[in-house]
């Protein structure tokens, strides 16, 4: 018996050693390592990292990547003692919130002047610049639509067609930024009262409200539901993977969000973080990185080359007052929850 417990003791010692040293066992190079928070797609991380580190060989990126909501929650929770040095690719609505709380550094990167006006912070302090935009859109599963003899919708208004009863999925605006920007866009297009009337009718057709902005399109792509309200990037990537989906950009106009970059005010590696911002706003990054994955990017000269994106998105993007949208959020969500949460038992 004694032997086995001695073994356990040894294992424990080993485990503690791993804990103590494993934590600090990063490579001992002289490069400055900066922690970068991001919500860009996982597959893009190594590409972005490699590209930047080629330009700035003395800096190393350590990614912390998760979905937009999770990263934003994490960043805000850490605000008393921020762990991130910079942000590269997080929804601008989150960054505006961070800016309001004084968490971002004032810095105009080298590429600032050239970027499209929409894609940069126009008021002091100048904390963020956009890299790409993604817009709300409708994912329609053509196979399901054909099998069930459903028309392909062209507009938001089309979605209240009783034929779609129970066949639409959309993100819950209380759980998902995409969900909220969609609702906000409806309010802007139709006016407040009409938008609620619209959503009342739409509610009849919604099978399920999902907790993430990607999920509706993923579900539509798999044919779980015929129609998913989601954003174009996810729709394009599902289509590329082979899903029978058609991406509809409603003609009334679409809500959108932008992925943006910023420096965290408390960073101890300001020089490295600035290098990252300079690169993030550069023509090279727009050309070599963003335009490969997104259709709408910050640099006016970069042409989106990502496959399966609808061409009309940029033209249909609404003029949005991001600050107003952020301010209305609590009120809208409370109303939304009152109308659609209480009777949420599915039928």
């Amino acid at each position: 018996m004694k032997n086995s417990f001695t073994t356990i003791g040894k294992t424990l010692t080993a485990a503690i050693a791993v804990l103590a040293f494993g934590a600090g066992a990063a490579d001992a190079q002289q490069r400055t390592r900066i922690t970068v928070y991001t919500a860009i797609e996982n597959e893009q991380l190594p590409v972005f990292k490699e590209a930047f580190e080629k330009v700035a060989p003395d800096v190393e990126i350590a990614w912390v990547r998760d979905s937009t909501g999770t990263i934003a929650a994490r960043f805000l929770a850490e605000k008393d003692n921020p762990r991130a040095d910079a942000i590269w690719g997080l929804s601008v609505t989150s960054l505006i919130l961070f800016e309001q709380q004084g968490l971002l550094a004032d810095y105009k990167p080298k590429g600032y002047d050239k970027l499209k006006p929409l894609f940069k912070d126009q008021t002091a302090p100048f904390t963020w610049h956009g890299i790409d935009a993604y817009a709300a859109s409708i994912c329609v599963n053509t196979a399901v639509a054909k099998a069930q003899n459903l028309p392909i919708p062209k507009t938001w208004a089309d979605l209240v067609n009783p034929a779609y009863k129970g066949k639409i999925v959309m993100p819950n605006p209380a759980s998902s930024g995409t969900g909220y920007l969609t609702v906000a866009a409806w309010q802007q297009i139709m006016g407040d009262a009409a938008a609620w009337q619209y959503m009342d009718k739409l509610h009849e057709n919604v099978g399920v409200y999902l907790h993430s902005g990607s999920a509706p399109c993923v579900q539509a792509a798999r044919g779980e539901y015929a129609i998913g309200i989601s954003f174009d990037m996810r729709a394009a990537s599902e289509k590329t993977k082979g899903a029978p989906v058609e991406i509809v950009v409603p003609t009334e106009g679409v809500g959108w969000d932008m992925e943006a970059s910023a420096i965290v005010k408390t960073t101890k590696n300001m020089a490295a973080a600035q290098k990252l911002m300079d690169y993030s706003s550069s023509a090279e990054a727009n050309r070599d990185l963003y335009s490969k994955y997104y259709n709408v990017v910050a640099d006016p000269d970069a042409k989106g080359t990502a496959p399966n994106y609808p061409a009309e998105t940029e033209a249909r993007m609404l003029k949005i007052d991001l600050a107003a949208m952020a301010n209305n959020r609590d009120k809208t969500l409370a109303e939304w929850s009152k109308r659609y949460d209480g009777k949420s038992a599915p039928k």
């Binding site: 018996m1 417990f5 356990i8 294992t11 424990l12 485990a15 503690i16 791993v18 804990l19 103590a20 494993g22 934590a23 922690t35 996982n42 597959e43 893009q44 350590a62 990614w63 912390v64 990547r65 998760d66 979905s67 909501g69 934003a72 929650a73 929770a77 850490e78 008393d80 003692n81 762990r83 989150s94 919130l97 605006p173 209380a174 759980s175 099978g207 399920v208 409200y209 907790h211 993430s212 990607s214 399109c217 993923v218 798999r222 044919g223 779980e224 539901y225 996810r234 990537s237 599902e238 993977k241 082979g242 899903a243 929850s337 009152k338 949460d341 009777k343 949420s344 038992a345 599915p346």
Partner: protein, 555 residues
Amino acid sequence: MGIRLDRDAIGQRAALLVAAGFLLVSLALPLATLFGKSFRDRDGQFVGLANFVRYFGTPSLVASLWSTVWVSLLATCIVVPLAFVYAYAIRRTTMPGRGVFRALGLVPILAPSLLPAIALIYLFGNQGFARFMLMGESIYGPIGIVIAQVYYCFPHAFLILSTALAIADRRHYEAAEVLGAGRVRVFLTVTLPGVKYGIVSAFFVVFTMIATDFGIPKVIGGRFNVLATDVYKQVIGQQNFEMGAVVGMVLLLPAMIAFAADRWVARRQVALLSARAVPFEPQKRKLRDLVLFAFCALVATCILVVLGVAAWASLIQYWPYNLSLSLRNYAFQNADASGWSSYFNTLAMAACAATIGCSVVAFGAWLVDKTRGAEFLRGVVHLLAMIPLAVPGLVLGLSYIFFFNAPGNPLGFIYGTLAILVLNTIAHFYTVAHLTSLQALKQLDPEFESVSSSLKISVWRTAWQVTLPVSSQALLDVWFYMFVNAMTTVSAVIFLYGPYTKLASVAIVNMDEAGFTAAAAAMGCTIVATSAAAKVLHSLLAAWLDRRTQAWRAR
């Protein structure tokens, strides 16, 4: 009039203080930091109960609360009897294949909760090939939640009940039989009272697990709102930590009730295995064995079908439009930048959490059960140990940020390292491990320590030479429990991993969200395979221990 403390008593009290300190730092203080936020507004101004008033004024709250209660209750009432019969068949009959069934019964615990959810969608979703079985009902909603929760919680209930049923005094059965009690009566008067504590524990553990889990309702719950998804909405959807804390506190209620009930039952529990107890040997009874065998076979088949579907899902190119198979999905770098490294992080984290956690928990449980006097301290440690069960992982993870990341926290250095993931995981799964250890300890003769102090032998020596070897099987079970849970834990660690400590379970969620369902299933299957390997190792060790201890277990 107090009894002067001897060295043992002082040592035990000191150790109790350390245990309480551990739970304080890993649990109570972080939670207190977070819950402090429930009394503040977003700007950090103290607002008293305003958040609570607002939350309780929300019309959807009542719906969420009610949904949480009835779904949890329904799933619990299904899973506990199911697990009881299953455990009973394995522990108390002579039916063939008990070892295999035991292993299969634990299979769901090996899988990240997303895996059965994916399998259920493939089976019963709108494109699922077995959706006819739902007779027109949708899997997205309470039906899906209940099925997935039953699947997910089954091993937990099974583990607790199996431990409770493992030990019995044959003489009680002989006595009952001699008294002419029929089988039903023996079952009602001997078997059930003997495992009452286990049943109550299982009930509350499962109920609270279901009530606090957000993973399953998030993926398969559809429009169905429960309290745990409310937390998710507040924290992830709106970054409203203050309201998240409010809902988190509401969710603590079931655990408080569980704690009270646990105490109440524990006071009525007497030791079952005195030193002169005669171990129970099940008798062969053909009909009973046959019926129970059929039952176990059915349960095991369901478990395997779900797992099989998940394994199949991991090989499919694109569900449901391209069903050709390929191993490509196991090349994780295609779907997640961290590739296989997240898997190895998980492995290291789980090994550390299991080994350290098992030692810490078992020692803590021993102190709670075996220290004479010090009722207050023991009560504190036990109370703290019961809390994690009630805390949604999301709430615990968030509280770790606020506590460990606070400027000036001397423990801040573990933030972002593997160590904080280990600590968090131990704390997160403390309760069941604690209850399992306690259950094993309660089945020992309570006078061992009295004897050793009458012989002037220190309790530590008795703990090392008697208690530890006698409960080594239970200890091994606790290790395994910690290990598999650490392999699959998501919600608490999602805020805590650092740039180099991303975990496989987080990668699964990320991949699924990005539409790489097959890769997510593949990573899930890799975790299942790893945990299954650990299970094999666990069984080998258990068999070895069993052989070594056979001599003193035999009559």
